[in-house]
Symmetry: D2
């Protein structure tokens, strides 16, 4: 048994700038490349979602559990700048940064690079904590904040 694809996270607590940073790797699936042979522009949103869920998992937070406990985290805004195309079977690295301590909202910034360390795109999302019962915004739950706080002190 050998590990052929490593999806790993780099956990960095930058002592100079308070923030959290992690990395994952994603292999582009055939389904995700388009007629030009490039990753369809719409498919990066799912990659970034994997990137932020794994970033949270790295901090000890399982997004699914939070949702099962009644807190949803939908996306409020999403913005992406495409710099170079990525192609089928490329092994992409996505670096995810939480640039500031979350309050009622949480921001994520992403940078995608390929195996040659070429920058593919830069993106950011803002998500908002929503109470599943009321469907209204709510503060980030304490169990979420308790895991994340150490990176911003």
């Amino acid at each position: 048994m050998i590990a052929i694809i490593f999806l790993h996270l780099v956990r960095i607590k930058n002592i100079f700038n308070n923030m959290f940073e992690s990395k994952i790797q994603i292999r582009v699936r055939y389904a995700e490349a388009d007629r030009m042979g490039f990753v369809y522009y719409g498919n990066y949103a799912a990659y970034f979602e994997v990137a932020r869920v794994e970033a949270l998992r790295q901090m000890g937070i399982t997004y699914k559990e939070m949702e099962d406990r009644g807190i949803l985290l939908p996306v409020l805004d999403y913005s992406v700048k495409f710099i170079k195309p990525a192609g089928y079977d490329d092994l992409l690295t996505i670096k995810t940064v939480i640039p500031e301590m979350p309050q009622a909202r949480i921001k994520f910034e992403y940078e995608t690079t390929n195996e040659n360390n070429i920058l593919i795109n830069k993106a950011n999302t803002t998500l908002v904590f929503i109470n599943k019962e009321t469907m209204k915004p709510c503060p980030a739950p304490e169990y979420f904040l308790s895991h994340i706080r150490e990176y911003f002190e």
Copy 2:
């Protein structure tokens, strides 16, 4: 205002063979074609789901309402034979047949053709009625059967 894409249903009550038949048209999206320039084989499942939901709507059944009332209809098996490729921007016609009166399960058969009436593929699915509370199979609800019965008499 002009109609440029017609998604229409043909409702046929075949008086010789009891069955229900409907047709829809779907324009292939850029996101759905792959690196070969053809519709990715995995994307037909979503087309067939649109085809069967519109077939049910044609009979007066809104699948969403049934699900909201507590009856799920997940797919038990799915099988597809690919005959010719379809490409980006092709306007496909999917013919859906309910070959027999549903009981605890419902079968759908599909045929996809392109604008030149070339047969693209043939497929079939079996779905099962599930009670959302118990997550166990259940008989088809009466409001479902009442809409469908006339086609099988």
Copy 3:
């Protein structure tokens, strides 16, 4: 045979503000709603692609033909603000605006509303004309501009 879903385009030449505007309708597929029951945030990119391709078709431009003639039109940047969620089976209207005469780049602005005329989201994309041979940016081809020019005079 009855038309049950109309995907129609409204073609407006605003005589006060030079711009092009069109509308399409898209029914949300089961595959496109997520665990929250809402359209997955990543799926709107494909809707906007359908919206802009149909907007171009309305002006007499078939995007596929342009690509087959050797001009690609990849997305340079994409930004979306989510205002209200859309759900499974919702019939969404996407209004597409080309706000200015395209040069080497073309901008599209989008607004999605549901059947109750609730604003779901606002988005914009910038696309760039690329020569397929050289994979370098190029001016918009004349046959493209000739169709689009009348809306900006």
Copy 4:
């Protein structure tokens, strides 16, 4: 740096039955679960494509390279039986078997299990070697067969 998700392959040359077997693990993405909270039935096709591409890579064959050299491998038929649902964030294992030495066609069989070793589904696909120039079926290329032959002797 720690590895948090292992996508590994188990390479088995069964000395009693000539065949090739490999395993990969896939974490279900949010985008891939539907309104029921389960993996949308159409999304398994992309999982199985990842499974067979990684199975080939394990034998020394990069599918992308073969395609770049002019041999396509489209799916001829695909069949799947769903046994239990899988949900968002589940870590699925897909076992892929090549049951017989490929000729003009290659068969793959798949079994998906979850972390509790519950069988989720069973599927199979037949793919055909196609010459990209002629778009006609062709024999499997020798460099493909040379990598695969040892498992069937």
